[in-house]
Each structure stands twice: as structure tokens, then as C-alpha cells.
């Protein structure tokens, strides 16, 4: 079959990302021709500032080298401008009479710096700051000349000024507005930034309008302001803004309004022509940051591949300044209006300023200076329009004030040196991460995880890695929230999409779900298959097929895999209560099978470690105790204290309730592991306040707390409801667990789920709605009815292929 012809005008980050995405999903659909006006392969434009500052070389920031184009059969025309599009004949006409036919055309023409229309703008030594040749011109000028003036105190201007200063020039920044970065910062933060930059030797002239550039023998020699003052200058950098490059599209009669107007599929008014990147105007907005461009590229590729799904619905953007050691963050509408309110923290001496703008109980904007640790947290809540409700009181103190485990309690990446360890699981230092981001052209958390392994194990350093990404990429970093993210690379669909489809279409198997949702890979992967399997069995208990091959090994063999490939065996001890008979049995088994280690666990039970896979069924048979599910995304334990049975302080029978809970729910699968506890008095010896569901007995009844966590991120649970009887405690806890089972994303702990949907939501479904609570509880009991002990099942089955090895027959 004859391939279709795709012509791409523009060899920058947006255009090439669209081509990359297209090659991923439809590698053989098109013959691709790319025109690039610059004489270089695609490079990482957001790394120009580090190149200017001398921290990075041009070769390091190339994203697609020439070999890449060749390997993918792309005809690349560098240094060749497309001058005209003949839409009738479908031909792109380039310089020197060179022309190429197309079936689809992709415009990714980017933007140009805006040059002030003032006398002297054409003099030598007056340059914009946009591409690598501008950067090189500045580097060259810094070697010969002394005095630089940067016009424009925005993001780009300040990065240019900082780079030139680091190259030894005297730099003055001229700015029209009363404070720096006025579109991203309020007055206070702008002033703090100015003071910091002044300390680094930059000079500022604010509220100055440039009237003319003065020249001598064809080269710039000074800047003249509207008030008549003149200052000397050997180099003038104009960084007053950018404008989308629309000339080519306009000359072809394609509708433009500031940018090339596209719909949500990135199609222009000519259905054969698509556009992505800084050149477009989408729903009236043009974007100059890389994250939105990548989103556009993905959607565009999907439509070019004729898959016809995916819409670009616009992006929220956040800003960071890429000046080493300056920590600022800005997002949304931080100025507010008459209906908004502000929460402000201002520690001028300490160099920290934070302002959060709130309207109708939701964050609409944030400016942070000096401490941007929580920038991504606020940004996530802003994007998700999350009700801050109960968070209000400690919003200012951030998400991480309780501290994460694994990096000496450090929560601020900017205070760390390059040789400090960020990821304690995989031993990855800050410098390694920053270097990988710059040199390998990484833009997302997932990419950093893939390339450096940082944050890919327990995830406790995710916040730090995100900060390093944000400060290295500047505005280029815009993380997706879990609600926006596709389940994995096998699909474009989010967890919510998948859950809805399974429920609404009554899908009962993985293959059916993948077919219905157009999965991109034939069998899915180790990320999506377990998720789909869980969604199926939790939505349609007793009906959907549970696929063992889509379960992680632990849940397939009902034991927990260890580093050497052996397994651990943890039998249930309901409520942490045991007796001599059980202990005898465990001791006998440990001796009989030479179990290398016997350990008392934190969950009040006994773990036999180092068991061979082949021995598991025999050990289970000898133990004759139920599985403790210590390996599953399921109820682990219900920890209890002694309670009224023996304790002189106890007010309630905590062991009794703990045993009831564990016996009722012990075979429950969940999105992630679930830990529970019951304490018999407010001394809380069972540590109920760091459990997914923690109950505390008081004289007048039981207090139920939810969404606590004691692991990676210590999180104190929140008070949910107080009830009188054990039966009520069972019903409320069960209903909470069922809501979690039905609505949380796979691998989302209760703390993260409640963080996403809000405790008020869970209360509205359970505490304030009796009928709904009872229905939830009934659904949980129905799901659990008839569920057999997995160990017993295996012991009683005649064939045990999972546990028996094959032998080579002679």
C-alpha cells in the first residue's frame, strides 16, 4: 500500500514530539518530511538558559540527533524555509523552488520574539533571545563587551540577564512594569526576587520605557528612555514577549487569530492541516510552555494516526524561574478579585513569601517565593478544583510538614547539594537526576523514574524529584494529576474512564475491556493488567473472571516474594490473639521445613521467611490456619490492644471488635493494602491514628478514624464518625472500605484517595446518608460471601502447577 505523505513545517519541540507520538502508534502510516528553518536537529529549547549560563553545552541539549531522523525514515530539510502552502494542489513550497506534496500537513512554526518598534532596533548588538544562534551571539558578545542591557524583566529576560552576568558582563534589566515578572508575581514576591538578583550583581531600572537604541558606527552603544535619560550599552537583549508565527498559515488563507486557530483535535480550518505548539491559538489561548505543547502533540498524533480519540481541552500552567538558587513558583490567578480571599505568609527576613488565593473554597492561584516545596501540591488542587475545606487550617504549612521517610527529613530540594541522596531506595543523588533531565531531555516524573530509577521504588522521594524537575525545567514542568493520567502507556484512558466503562457496559473480562476501550497493546502490561483485574472483580463480584496471570506473583501464589525468590508465609491470627496450640504448630512447621527466619511482625502475627515456592502448599496444609493475606492488596491485619479484658484503663473490648472486623472482612481485595486497628481507650496503644481505618473505644462508644498512614509518609488519620455499638462500628467501617473499593484508583491508599476526593465527600456518602451506607455495606458483604480461604483452596486442589517445577526428561 502506498504510504500517505505527511509534511511537518517546523523542526522544534512541539512538531517533533508530535512525530514521535505518531511513530509510536502508527509507525508505517506516513512518509514523513520535516522542514526546519534552523540548521540544527531538534533541541531542548528550555535548556538554552543553562547553555547561556555556561552550565550546559549545545550538544547536551539535542533531543533528536540526525541519526534518529534517518532511523525513522524521515526526510529532514534543515535550514530550509517553507514559503508557501498551495492548499488546492496540497503542495508545500520551500526555498529555491523545492516543493513537496502532502496528504496531511502539520504546522509547528513556533513563535518569534517581539521586537520593539523603536529607532535603532536594527543596529548590530541588538538581539532577541529565542534560539541557539541568539544564545551563541550573546556568549560571543560576553567575551568582547562589558555592558549589557536586557529589555524586559519577565521570565526570559531574567534568565538572559542571569546568564550574561555569569559570563562576566555588567547587566542592567530595564522593565516597563513597577515590579519584575508582573504577570507571574505580585508586588511583594517581585520585590523579593529583585533583591535576590541584585545581590547577584544585576541592576534594575523599573517603570522605564525605552524610546530608542543609540548607535555608533553601526553598533549599539546606548539606550535612551522616554524621560530622556541615557545609559551605555554594548549589547541589548530584547525579551519583551513572543508572538506566534502565523505568516505562512495566513498567506495560505488559514484562519488565524493571533495564533493559528485549531479545534480540540488540533485541526485547523483546513481539515488536511493540523497545527501544534506555540504557533496555535486554542480556545483563544496561546501557550509558550512545553507541557501544553506535549499534550497537543499527543492529541494531534492520535488524529493523524486516524484513531480519532483524544481531545485537547487546554492546560493550566505554572511558572518556575530557572535561575540556580532562586526559588519561585506561580500559578493561576494570584491577584484574585472582589470575590476572592488570600492567605499570606510573609517572612521578609527569612526570605520566604507565600500567597494562596481562594475563591468559593477552592484555590485559584498561588505565588511562592523562597520555599516552593508545596507548589505542585497547590497546583494539583487548583487543577482539580478541590475543595480545601478541612485543609484550610494547615494549607500554608504544606503537604509535607509531617515529613517523609528516607532522606533525612529533607523536604526542600533547593537546599540540597548535587551529591546528596534523593532516592534512598535506589541510591540516586540530586546531581544525577538533574543531569539526566538536562542531557536526556526528560520532562516527566515517569521519564525520570525510567532513566534514573529515582522515585521508582517506594515513591517517598517523589516530591523531591518533582522539585528537581520543576527547577531544572522551569515552566516546562507540569505534572499530571492521577485523575488526568492514563492508566499506563497501553491506553489513553484514565482510571475513571476504565471504571465507568466496566460498570456501565458490564464488562466481565480483561480481553473484553481491552477490546471495548481500544487498548493499544494486545495483552496490556504489568501496570494495567492488575488494575483491570481488580476493577473487574470489585465491580462484578461472583461474575467477572479473576485472571491469575494478571495478578502480581504474590497474589497468584498467596505468599510474599523476597529478594532471593523465596517467599514468606504469614498465617492469620485474628486480632493478634494466639494460643499455645497455634504456636506449637508454627514451631513444628518452622523446624520441619528448615524455615531460616521466624519473625514477629508489626501487625501482631508471625512471619515464616525464606520458604521455597515448592514447599508452600505443604506448609499451609501442616499449619492448617487461614491465609493472613500479608502479600495482597487486601486487608492485612486488625491490630488491637488488650482492652477491657485485662487492661485496667480499657473502656471497651477492643480485641473483641478487632476479631469481629478481621473475621468479617479478611478476604477482601482492595485497591491497595488496608491496615486497621482497634484501641480500647484514648491511650491508643494499637496506634489507630495511623491506619486506613482506626477505631478508638471511649466510655460512650467508638470513634472511627480513617485515611491514616504509618509508612512512607506518616499521616494522622482523620475523625470520621462516632458510633455507639460494635454493630454500627462494623457497618460504618465496612461501608467506608466498600466506597474505597468502588471508587479509589488501583494502588491508591486510602490517604491518597481521601486526599483526592476529600473527607467531606466520604462523609456525605456514609455518615450523612443512612440508606447509601447500608447499601455499601450490603455490597461488601455480598462480594465477600462464599469467598474461600486461598490456602485451603490450593491445598485441596489436585494439581498445583504454580508450585511444581518441571524437569527435563532424558
Amino acid at each position: 500500500m502506498q504510504k500517505l505523505k505527511l509534511v511537518v513545517v517546523g523542526n522544534g519541540m512541539a512538531g517533533m514530539r508530535a512525530v514521535e507520538e505518531l511513530l509510536k502508534i502508527a509507525p508505517d502510516l506516513y512518509d514523513i518530511t520535516v522542514f526546519g528553518a534552523e540548521p540544527h536537529p531538534n533541541y531542548n529549547r528550555i535548556m538554552l538558559s543553562p547553555v547561556l549560563a555556561g552550565e550546559q553545552k549545545f550538544e547536551d541539549i539535542i533531543l533528536n540527533d540526525l541519526a534518529w531522523y534517518e532511523e525513522n525514515g524521515i526526510r529532514l530539510h534543515l535550514g530550509k524555509k517553507v514559503l508557501k502552502i498551495n492548499r488546492k494542489e496540497r503542495v508545500a513550497e520551500a526555498e529555491e523552488g523545492f516543493s513537496v506534496e502532502y496528504d496531511r500537513l502539520l504546522l509547528a512554526t513556533g513563535s518569534s520574539p517581539f521586537i520593539l518598534p523603536i529607532p535603532g532596533r536594527d543596529l548590530d548588538g541588538v538581539i532577541p533571545y529565542r534560539d541557539i544562534s541568539d544564545t551563541q551571539a550573546m556568549i560571543d558578545a560576553a567575551e568582547k563587551y562589558r555592558k549589557a542591557v536586557v529589555i524586559g524583566g519577565g521570565l526570559l529576560g531574567l534568565e538572559a540577564a542571569n546568564g550574561l552576568r555569569q559570563r562576566g558582563m555588567d547587566v542592567t534589566v530595564v522593565h516597563l512594569a513597577p515590579w519584575l515578572m508582573e504577570r507571574q508575581l505580585d508586588r511583594t514576591a517581585g520585590r523579593m526576587l529583585q533583591r535576590e538578583l541584585e545581590k547577584r550583581g544585576l541592576e534594575f531600572m523599573l517603570e522605564r520605557k525605552t524610546e530608542a537604541l543609540l548607535g555608533k558606527e553601526g553598533r549599539v552603544c546606548g539606550v535612551k528612555f522616554s524621560d530622556g535619560e541615557e545609559i551605555p550599552a554594548d549589547l541589548v537583549v530584547m525579551a519583551v514577549g513572543i508572538k506566534p508565527n502565523t505568516q505562512l498559515a495566513e498567506s495560505a488563507g488559514i484562519h488565524c487569530n493571533r495564533g493559528i486557530v485549531v479545534d480540540d483535535t488540533m485541526q485547523t480550518f483546513d481539515p488536511k492541516i493540523y497545527a501544534v505548539g506555540e504557533c496555535v491559538s486554542h480556545r483563544g489561548t496561546s501557550y509558550g510552555l512545553v507541557a501544553p505543547l506535549f499534550d497537543m502533540a499527543k492529541v494531534c498524533a492520535n488524529h493523524l494516526a486516524m484513531m480519532g480519540i483524544g481531545r485537547y481541552a487546554g492546560s493550566y500552567t505554572a511558572t518556575k524561574l530557572k535561575v540556580t538558587g532562586v526559588d519561585l513558583f506561580s500559578a493561576g490567578n494570584f491577584d484574585g478579585d472582589e470575590h476572592s480571599e488570600e492567605i499570606v505568609l510573609n517572612d521578609a527576613a527569612g526570605g520566604v513569601y507565600k500567597k494562596i488565593t481562594i475563591r468559593d473554597g477552592k484555590i485559584i492561584g498561588a505565588v511562592l517565593y523562597g520555599d516552593t516545596v508545596d507548589g505542585q501540591w497547590y497546583f494539583r488542587m487548583l487543577k482539580e478544583k478541590q475543595d480545601i475545606g478541612e485543609l484550610r487550617g494547615h494549607l500554608m504549612f504544606g503537604e509535607s510538614h509531617l515529613g517523609n521517610a528516607g532522606h533525612e527529613g529533607r523536604v526542600q530540594a533547593s537546599n540540597m547539594t548535587d551529591d546528596m541522596e534523593v532516592c534512598g531506595c535506589n541510591g540516586v543523588c540530586k546531581g544525577t537526576i538533574a543531569r539526566a533531565i538536562k542531557e536526556k531531555g526528560l520532562f516527566t516524573l515517569d521519564e525520570v523514574r525510567k532513566h534514573t530509577k529515582a522515585s521508582s521504588s517506594c515513591g517517598s522521594c517523589t516530591g523531591l524529584v518533582e522539585q528537581i524537575l520543576a527547577s531544572t525545567l522551569g515552566g516546562g514542568y507540569s505534572p499530571k494529576t492521577s485523575a488526568e493520567k492514563p492508566v499506563c502507556a497501553c491506553t489513553e484512558h484514565t482510571h475513571d474512564d476504565v471504571r465507568c466503562a466496566i460498570r456501565d457496559e458490564k464488562l466481565l473480562s480483561i480481553s473484553e475491556t481491552m477490546a471495548f476501550m481500544n487498548w493499544k497493546t494486545p495483552n496490556g502490561c504489568a501496570t494495567c493488567r492488575p488494575a483491570l483485574n481488580y476493577y473487574l472483580i470489585s465491580t462484578w463480584p461472583h461474575e467477572a473472571a479473576d485472571d491469575p496471570q494478571s495478578r502480581f506473583v504474590n497474589e497468584r501464589v498467596h505468599a510474599n516474594i523476597q529478594k532471593d525468590g523465596t517467599f514468606s508465609v504469614v498465617p492469620r491470627m485474628y486480632g493478634g490473639i494466639t494460643n499455645p496450640k497455634q504456636l506449637h504448630k508454627i514451631a513444628d512447621v518452622a523446624e520441619k521445613y528448615n524455615v531460616p527466619m521466624v519473625k514477629v511482625t508489626g501487625g501482631q502475627r508471625i512471619d515464616l521467611l525464606g520458604v521455597k515456592r515448592e514447599d508452600l502448599p505443604a506448609i499451609w496444609a501442616d499449619l492448617d490456619m487461614p491465609s493472613g493475606y500479608a502479600y495482597g492488596k487486601s486487608i492485612r491485619t486488625v491490630k488491637t490492644c488488650v482492652g477491657t479484658e485485662f487492661c485496667r484503663f480499657g473502656t471497651q473490648d477492643s480485641t473483641g471488635l478487632g476479631i469481629m472486623l478481621e473475621q468479617a472482612f479478611d478476604r477482601m481485595w482492595a485497591p491497595h493494602k488496608v491496615k486497621m486497628a482497634v484501641s480500647g481507650c484514648p491511650r491508643n496503644c494499637a496506634e489507630s491514628t495511623i491506619k486506613d481505618v482506626g477505631i478508638i473505644g471511649v466510655d460512650s462508644g467508638w470513634e472511627i478514624y480513617v485515611a491514616g498512614n504509618g509508612g512512607i509518609k506518616a499521616e494522622v488519620s482523620q475523625f470520621f464518625v462516632k458510633v455507639k455499638t460494635r454493630e454500627e462500628a462494623m457497618e460504618y467501617s465496612g461501608a467506608f472500605l466498600q466506597l474505597y473499593r468502588e471508587e479509589a484508583y488501583y494502588l491508591e491508599r486510602t490517604v491518597h484517595w481521601i486526599g483526592r476526593v476529600g473527607l467531606d465527600y466520604a462523609k456525605s456518602r456514609i455518615v450523612e446518608n443512612d440508606e447509601n451506607r447500608r447499601a455499601l455495606y450490603q455490597r461488601l458483604l455480598y462480594a465477600l460471601s462464599g469467598e474461600r480461604d486461598p490456602w485451603k483452596n490450593i491445598v485441596e486442589s489436585t494439581k498445583k502447577p504454580l508450585f511444581e517445577s518441571l524437569v527435563v526428561e532424558a
Binding site: K450, H451, S456, S457, T521, P522, N523, G524, C525, A526, R529, P530, P548, Q549, S550, F552, V553, N554, R556, V557, I561, K563, D564, G565, P801, S805, L806, V807, V808, E809, A810
Partner: protein
């Protein structure tokens, strides 16, 4: 001297699953993909020695259960950007019987 040895029936290996063969020198993992192709690899992940046979199989790959490294079954090589190899063994199916060259 290497010879073809009978190991099991195709039906003994679950689709998108694996079985372990006790070899003379090492454990060998037999993987079966959705199209009933069988692959045989040394049952040892190049990353930290995890048992690949216990991983999740799909799209011609297996994901190691210990730390999630993904191995291409055909090439016996880690999927980029990860690096590392594990030994491959020749395997064939004849009338529903799986044979291994060892």
C-alpha cells in the same frame, strides 16, 4: 552435547504465564505468549537476579517481580533504557509437546 528434551505439554504452561524447568545448571523459565509461542530464558533477571518466571507476561515481554525490570522474551534483553541480558535457550513445540535444547 546439546539435545532436544521433552519438558511438558503446551497446555501445562498457562497462556501469558510461565513454568520453571529445573535444568542441570540453572532454572529455566518457559514463557507462553497469547499466540502460543514459547520462549525459554535463564530464570534470572539481569538486574538483581529475580525469578523472571514469576513475572507478568505480555506483548512478548516479562516484567520481573522484584523491581519491575522488563525483559524482551525474544531477545532476552532488558527493554530500553534499562540494560542487561539473560541467557536464551532453544525451544520448540511438536504436536503439542514442548522440547528444550539443553
Amino acid at each position: 552435547m546439546e539435545n532436544w528434551h521433552k519438558v511438558c505439554e503446551l497446555a501445562d504452561i498457562p497462556q501469558l504465564g510461565a513454568r520453571v524447568v529445573k535444568g542441570k545448571n540453572c532454572d529455566i523459565a518457559l514463557f507462553r505468549d497469547a499466540g502460543d509461542r514459547i520462549y525459554a530464558l535463564h530464570d534470572r533477571c539481569p538486574h538483581k537476579g529475580g525469578p523472571l518466571s514469576q513475572g507478568i507476561v505480555g506483548n512478548g515481554r516479562v516484567t520481573c517481580p522484584l523491581h519491575g525490570m522488563t525483559i524482551d522474551l525474544e531477545a532476552g534483553r532488558a527493554v530500553s533504557p534499562d540494560e542487561g541480558c539473560t541467557d536464551r535457550f532453544e525451544v520448540k513445540i511438536d504436536q503439542g509437546i514442548v522440547y528444550l535444547l539443553v
